[in-house]
Amino acid sequence: MKPELKPELKPEPTGYIRQTQESYEKLGFAPYQWFYAEDEPAFVTDRKPLADARLGLLSTAGAYVRGQVAFHTKDDTSIRAISSGTPAKNIRFAHIMENYLVEARQDPCTVFPVEALDHLQREGVIGELADNFFSCMGGIYSRKRVTAELLPGLEAAIDRESPDLLLLVPL
């Protein structure tokens, strides 16, 4: 699928890269070097239909549950496993951009959709949910640390759950 007709969105989608560049300039910071992919991504064509698939979830909103160590804000590359049966009210957040979490801290499902996924699994839209979902703190300024530290940890964690499909929800 490649959308032919794009909806007329109101408001216009926010230019976060431009916004960041402008605010950094006003604050006297060096410009942030955003990642611009130079090549097309891999694309798996042979995949299970959603209704037959085991779905995994990765949130980068810094979600954790009571009893777990919260994330820190200095390029934290650690990971938390959160049971897919966790009640939404037990989910907390720690993230460098906590201004975006004011409402999520009262209603975690705005960024960590456990209830919607549970509903869709019971309805048969999703085959099954992985036993554990995963969370990390996606505000990692160093791409090298994403590659060298976060990705190997995620590989090990996500492989253990053997999902057929992986949903990713950023903050």
């Binding site: 699928m1 959308p3 408001p11 989608p13 926010t14 604050l27 955003w34 990642f35 992919a37 097309e40 991504p41 891999a42 694309f43 798996v44 959603l50 990765l58 980068t60 009893g67 777990q68 160590v69 919260a70 994330f71 820190h72 200095k74 907390r92 720690a94 993230h95 460098i96 951009m97 201004n99 975006y100 409402e103 999520a104 009262q106 209603d107 499902c109 705005t110 960024v111 960590f112 959709p113 919607a116 869709l120 996606g138 505000g139 990692i140 300024y141 994403v146 990705l151 995620l154 590989e155 996500i158 999902p163 057929d164 499909l165 992986l166 949903l167 990713l168 929800v169 950023p170 903050l171």
Partner: protein
């Protein structure tokens, strides 16, 4: 930043053979990161999975996003048609005049509450 990180993660896992789909709200960062599959919802950051305390909207957003697993036949970003003008107004008012929204960068865990800190044994 999170949208950049998930783009890197999605590209990595797709290359290892696991189909991925991002449900995100920063179209320009996703476009730059070229993930295999993404569904864009034009809500403020912090509401990627739907409106605050609105289970019907959250379910509709997640349902439509997940459909992308079955529908995409090539890499791309699909723009969903959800609108939430009052949500944008709420966030705009809150962020008015602020240039830097980041919390201080510290290696100390940032618990949501003191009770959480105690429960984790870090008091």
């Amino acid at each position: 930043m999170c949208h950049q990180t998930v783009s890197l993660i999605a590209r990595h896992f797709e290359a290892r053979g696991l189909p991925t789909l991002i449900l995100g709200s920063a179209l320009d960062i996703l476009s730059a990161g070229k993930p295999p599959r993404a569904k864009f919802v034009n809500y403020p950051l912090g509401f990627e999975a739907g409106r605050f305390r609105d289970r019907d909207d959250q379910l509709a957003v997640v349902r439509e996003a997940l459909q992308g697993f079955d529908d995409f036949s090539e890499p791309g970003i699909d723009l969903m048609a959800f609108e939430w003008l009052s949500g944008w107004a709420m966030v705009k008012e809150r962020e008015k005049g602020k240039l830097d929204h980041r919390s201080p960068r510290t290696p100390e865990p940032q618990y949501q509450s003191e009770e959480d800190r105690r429960a984790a044994g870090s008091a």
